[in-house]
Symmetry: C2
Subunit: 265 residues, 2 copies
């Protein structure tokens, strides 16, 4: 089982922390600095056991995204990375003697776009970036560090984001609802997008159990408490219910479009 996730977001938005939380592990990662001259991507591949399945997970994270004073080239390295993985697959597919079944597929199955929890809406860089990526990868926007936003502000913020995405023609990933067995669960998930997530590498004792949490003087945010944030929904959507659909859409929709445009050149 291969699964590849690309995380895009400004430095310090909790990308590494969220990945550790989602996969319940401590991925090796050196904390990023804010002063890279251009956006880099760092990719790591890990072998994990997830729901009794052997998972070959590749996590790709942007480094320095949004930090430059001039952000015009922020997208180039991201788009290049996605296209390069399509290109490798295409080259393998076009071989006379090929081994697609054992080929290590590095195509990006989903892009988690981390939105800054300003409360006001999307930034220009968010809209421009997601618009460049929506025909190349399944885009899932998430509100990072959602413990910054109170319940009353959150619904307004989510509505504003969805409105801005729609009015700018940005296509985001939607969980499939044709299959009756998952239709209800999936349309419920779709109604909560963008998921407001909180991640943590720390644990706290709550009701005699050690749970992932962020402790503040005024209270403890429990990552897996659904009345605190949408972390559980994101994990459900990403890893449990829709991993197969994300891989299929990458192959049948995004890769096909790349291949068609590439072979028409």
């Amino acid at each position: 089982f291969v699964f590849n996730i690309l995380c895009i977001g400004e430095t310090g938005l909790g990308k590494s922390t969220l990945m550790d939380s989602l996969f319940n592990t401590n991925f090796e990662s050196t904390p990023s600095t804010h002063n890279l001259p251009n956006v880099k991507l760092k990719a790591h591949t890990y072998e994990l056991q997830e729901s009794n399945v052997q998972l070959k997970l590749t996590l790709v994270e942007t480094v320095g995204y949004g930090d430059q004073i001039n952000k015009e080239d922020s997208f180039k390295s991201i788009v290049d990375y996605i296209d390069t993985q399509f290109e490798y697959y295409l080259q393998e597919e076009l071989k006379v003697k090929r081994l697609l079944s054992t080929y290590h597929d590095t195509r990006v199955h989903t892009c988690l776009y981390f939105i800054c929890p300003t409360g006001h809406g999307l930034k220009s860089i968010d809209l421009v970036c997601m618009k460049k990526l929506d025909t190349k990868v399944n885009v899932i926007p998430i509100i990072a560090k959602a413990d910054t936003i109170s319940k009353s502000e959150l619904q307004k913020f989510k509505t504003k984001i969805i409105t801005e995405l729609r009015s700018n023609g940005v296509e985001i990933y939607e969980c499939p609802t044709e299959d009756e067995t998952v239709a209800d669960v999936n349309s419920n998930m779709n109604s909560h997008v963008p998921f407001a997530v909180v991640g943590s590498t720390d644990f706290a004792k709550v009701a005699n159990k050690m749970v992932r949490a962020r402790q503040y003087p005024w209270g403890t945010v429990q990552v897996e408490n659904e009345s605190h944030c949408d972390f559980v929904k994101l994990r459900e959507m990403l890893i449990r219910t829709n991993m197969e659909d994300l891989r299929e859409k990458t192959h049948d929709k995004h890769y096909e479009l790349y291949r068609k445009m590439r072979l028409e050149q």
Copy 2:
């Protein structure tokens, strides 16, 4: 009593909310959008009663700071604004028949620079901007939306910021410690910089009193609770202990430098 504050920071960092909290009032302000093509400044002047003194307060806020994909011109409008106020004063000062005692002084007495609570350090734009302003205005860096940062992360973050400011030669405002009557209070204040602040336009009932607070499902952040954030220290430093020193340094140090460079041209 005239006092002029310039607030610089990205959209959604809580600038208007903090001003409402500091002066315990509801300043008229339309929420900002993220898509201005360049940075604007909006200034409002208010008549307030503060600690039994009639205060003519001018609040200047950046609009659209840090939102542009290319941030190179972000500083120009800010520097121009500060210099323009010095220029108006200089023109009045140079008049033969002048009325300095009734002149409405619009020179910026302090610049509150709002730092994004990433936990990682300053962004390039923060360093470049504060470096451009430190010889023109009293710069007070503050960590915005400090309820995003846990106690254990906060000290590391503050240390990182101070280190980066020092290694980049950025001069920030320091409360005066020569006067024995305020030396202790002021050096204690200086040791807490950058102040980690939380603001709120909402109130909650705590111990039978209505206090400014942000309510979350996991707890209530009390703006004026000193174990929750440094809001009280900022208010103390700005409005109660050092307002006079901020005005004096603006006149004796920053304005004099402007005047000297201007008259040498």
